[in-house]
């Protein structure tokens, strides 16, 4: 979806294509999983269990949106898992059960997220370190720094106010019982991200991911949009940290492995690694699908040891199916012709 090469009037048409295509497979998969869950446990779709699912899934949805921003711009962010862990540990240590400190510390966490995102972004774009290396480095730095700071065992405690966002909700809502704040936050973030991706910034981001040279020639400041994508990802990780810490409190393992789960969710949604293709909605659906898979495995009493294998097979099958269906390809008229020598040259100079 290179905005600059799009013929006039193609805007609404390509939007329709994306809706029909990219999100198709993941939607089918999600519905399929929900149907199987429903046969196993019909009460799952009565309000409270569904809301419990939403509460659990909200952090991953938010992380996936952050990861989407980075992946669609052609980069990776491996640091989000460590960042979530670091943020929860920092919050517990600084708040230490003191209600009055809740909001100042949340402010500080957002600031810390901003700094981590800026460092990731600037090191990648200005120092030209591949993002997979930059964020791998950040991941290790944060992991080690938290270990060093806490000696391997987090101290302190989160305040009740802090935990409200991840754990509680609006009580007494008809049918569903309780409307979790986590769900409200996830919906707000999703809508915000959809609007963002429709703005000029969003289009520049996709353009930079599709072909940064072409984007640069057409006036996009690639380093700036990519840096902002990393900042967005780090801020989303911070919000996810607030929800995860709220959901289950502090443990030494919090956040471990979340970066891979987030990337899996985004890819499952049909967002292409390497950038330039895929929608926010697809990433959100991908995140819901991953969480629904965990729930399904649990409902089926699938042995925990085999679960990662089953998860892997399903994801590969889904992505392969999507590619055969053509979900992940550009619409015919937008596909570049590979035999044009000038375009080949542009492509090879990527990053």
């Amino acid at each position: 979806m290179t905005a600059e090469t799009r013929p006039p009037g193609g805007r609404s048409a390509s939007f329709l294509t994306a809706l029909r295509g990219g999100t198709g497979t993941v939607t089918v998969l999600l519905v399929l999983i929900f149907v199987v869950i429903a046969t196993q446990n019909p009460s799952f779709f009565e309000g409270p269990p569904l809301m419990a699912f939403a509460k659990k899934a909200a952090p991953l949805v938010i992380l996936a949106i952050g990861q989407y921003l980075v992946i669609v711009s052609g980069e990776f962010d491996l640091s989000v898992g460590s960042l979530v862990g670091a943020q929860v540990v920092i919050a517990a240590r600084l708040i230490d059960g003191e209600e009055a400190l809740t909001f100042p510390v949340i402010g500080l966490m957002l600031l810390f997220g901003l700094v981590v995102g800026l460092v990731n972004g600037l090191v990648t774009t200005l120092l030209k370190v591949p993002s997979i290396i930059t964020t791998l480095g950040t991941m290790l730095i944060l992991f080690g720094a938290v270990r060093y700071w806490t000696g391997g065992a987090p101290t302190g405690a989160l305040s009740e106010n802090f935990r409200v966002f991840g754990r509680h909700g609006l009580d007494g809502v008809p049918v569903i019982g309780q409307l979790p704040w986590a769900l409200v936050i996830a919906v707000v973030v999703t809508v915000g991200a959809i609007l963002l991706m429709r703005s000029p910034f969003g289009r520049s981001l996709v353009a930079a991911g599709d072909n940064d040279t072409a984007a640069a020639f057409s006036g996009v400041r690639v380093w700036r949009v990519r840096t902002l994508a990393f900042v967005g990802s780090a801020l989303m990780a911070t919000v996810a940290a607030i929800l995860i810490g709220g959901f289950a409190g502090v443990t030494a393992q919090v956040g471990q492995g979340l970066e891979f789960t987030a990337i899996t969710a985004v890819v499952l949604g049909g967002v292409v690694l390497g950038g330039g293709r895929g929608t926010v909605v697809a990433a959100v659906l991908g995140a819901l699908t991953v969480e629904a898979l965990f729930t399904l495995f649990n409902q089926l009493y699938l042995p925990s040891t085999i679960q990662p294998t089953a998860q892997g097979l399903i994801i590969i099958a889904a992505v392969a199916y999507a590619s055969r269906r053509g979900d992940l390809r550009l619409p015919e008229r937008l596909r570049r012709r590979p035999d044009r020598p000038d375009e080949r040259q542009l492509d090879s100079s990527r990053r």
Partner: protein, 406 residues
């Protein structure tokens, strides 16, 4: 064709990511899983690989044996000791002796707590002139790293005694034997190795006793027909597998209904989610855990679902014990004695002075029950929530700051 190429790369990348994730889960426990239709928990026969009837009975019996040694210093007590002579290792100037410690890792709060206790014990021994100096290496749970750490200690020739906390049993055996062959006394503690070349092997009673303490408590405190959910950290680790094998053995002889077991990696979010899902499908009356990490998250799932608290077996980790007190739970804290981290350095001092030590130094391992709860919470009132109540360092220099400011 550009799109398929991108796709191929994507799928290949994904495969890499997935294989990176899956290698974390050790294999070899399929026998204990039960079949898919029967559910995880229907199988209550322990896997032969992890169950040794004789050792199981020995450990259960050891719980009732009065240990030898000073009553208020459990880290100096030994169950049924077989004392060995160590005069061949005695040196003239123990006050200058250099101890070397190869640590498997400090990758969980239990090991962090223990390692702090060990360092403070070293300080005390140096002050007393029992030893001179102490040096440690950390293998970060990597067998190869630990093998080379031990080799480095042997090659340096500076060590007057080598203490090893092995990361795994079979793989580290040759490395421990190399250390023994160098002529200096070797002390192994916590997990064992398949060799008896060391002067002493120090450990608490063991995993079977731990799992049995927890399971017995549930059997005693729940009505017949009650449901029990088991939460386990991960498969394939012997100390954890033994705990579960003992519990399977005891639950099989009881009238409790075991709903199943779940692997949680000790992650609070996963525990809370899994327990919530079980609560959606029916009542859970009891929780058995193979380690207490995240017990509080599991209890919160009951709070959020508006259900009464279960009877629960956690661990002597303080976050759980504080919750136990504030909510007046029916609970027990099985203990995998953290104070064992003191014993190896003390033993090294004894060996270098030519004093007798037990060949297998079995430390007591007593769970904390309701009547002792307040006492242990009092003693540890300043400690962080991921600290272990039976760390046994109250009389050491640096108490309590060393454990509080970790």
């Amino acid at each position: 064709m550009r799109a398929p190429r991108v796709l191929l790369a994507g799928v290949a990348g994904l495969t890499l990511l997935l294989s990176a994730c899956t290698t974390d889960a050790p294999e070899g426990t399929d026998g204990a899983e039960g079949s898919a239709d029967g559910g995880n928990g229907a199988e209550l026969t322990p896997d032969d690989q992890w169950f040794d009837q004789e050792e199981f009975e020995t450990q259960l019996a050891q719980r009732d044996i009065e240990p030898e040694g000073p009553e208020d210093e459990p880290w100096m007590q030994a169950i049924d000791p077989d004392w060995v002579d160590t005069t061949e290792f005695a040196i003239d100037d123990p006050e200058d002796a250099h101890l070397c410690f190869s640590n498997a890792s400090v990758s969980n709060p239990w090991r962090v707590t223990g390692f702090i206790t060990m360092e403070q014990q070293v300080e005390a021994l140096v002050d007393e002139g029992r030893i001179g100096s102490f040096d440690s290496s950390d293998a970060a749970d990597d067998d190869n790293q630990q093998i080379s750490d031990i080799q480095a200690f042997v090659d340096s020739g500076d060590c007057d005694a080598i203490i090893i906390s092995p990361s795994t049993t079979a793989t580290l055996t040759p490395a421990v034997e190399t250390a023994c062959a160098s002529g200096v006394p070797v002390i192994v503690f916590d997990r064992g190795v398949e060799s008896d070349c060391m002067v002493t092997f120090i450990h608490p009673i063991g995993g079977y006793a731990y799992g049995a303490d927890a399971a017995d408590f549930l059997v005693e405190n729940l009505d017949p027909g009650s449901t029990v959910l088991a939460l386990r950290i991960l498969p394939g680790v012997d100390v954890l597998e033994h705990r579960w094998a003992a519990a399977q053995q005891i639950f099989a002889d009881s009238e409790l209904e075991v709903l199943g077991f779940e692997f949680t990696e000790g992650d609070g979010a996963q525990i809370k989610d899994l327990v919530s899902q079980h609560l959606q499908r029916g009542e859970v009356d009891g929780i058995w855990m193979d380690a207490g990490d995240g017990a509080v998250a599991g209890l919160e799932a009951f709070e959020d679902a508006g259900q009464p608290y279960p009877v629960i077996a956690g661990e002597d980790e303080l976050s759980f014990m504080r919750k136990w007190e504030s909510e007046e739970l029916t609970a027990i804290a099985p203990v995998y004695s953290n104070f064992q981290w003191r014993t190896p350095v003390i033993a090294a001092g004894m060996i270098l002075a030519g004093e007798e030590v037990p060949a297998e130094w079995i430390l007591p391992q007593t769970p904390i029950r309701d009547d002792e709860l307040d006492d242990y919470l009092d003693r540890n009132s300043d400690m962080p929530s991921l600290h272990y109540a039976k760390f046994g360092g109250e009389d050491l220099p640096g108490f309590p700051e060393a454990w509080v400011d970790r």
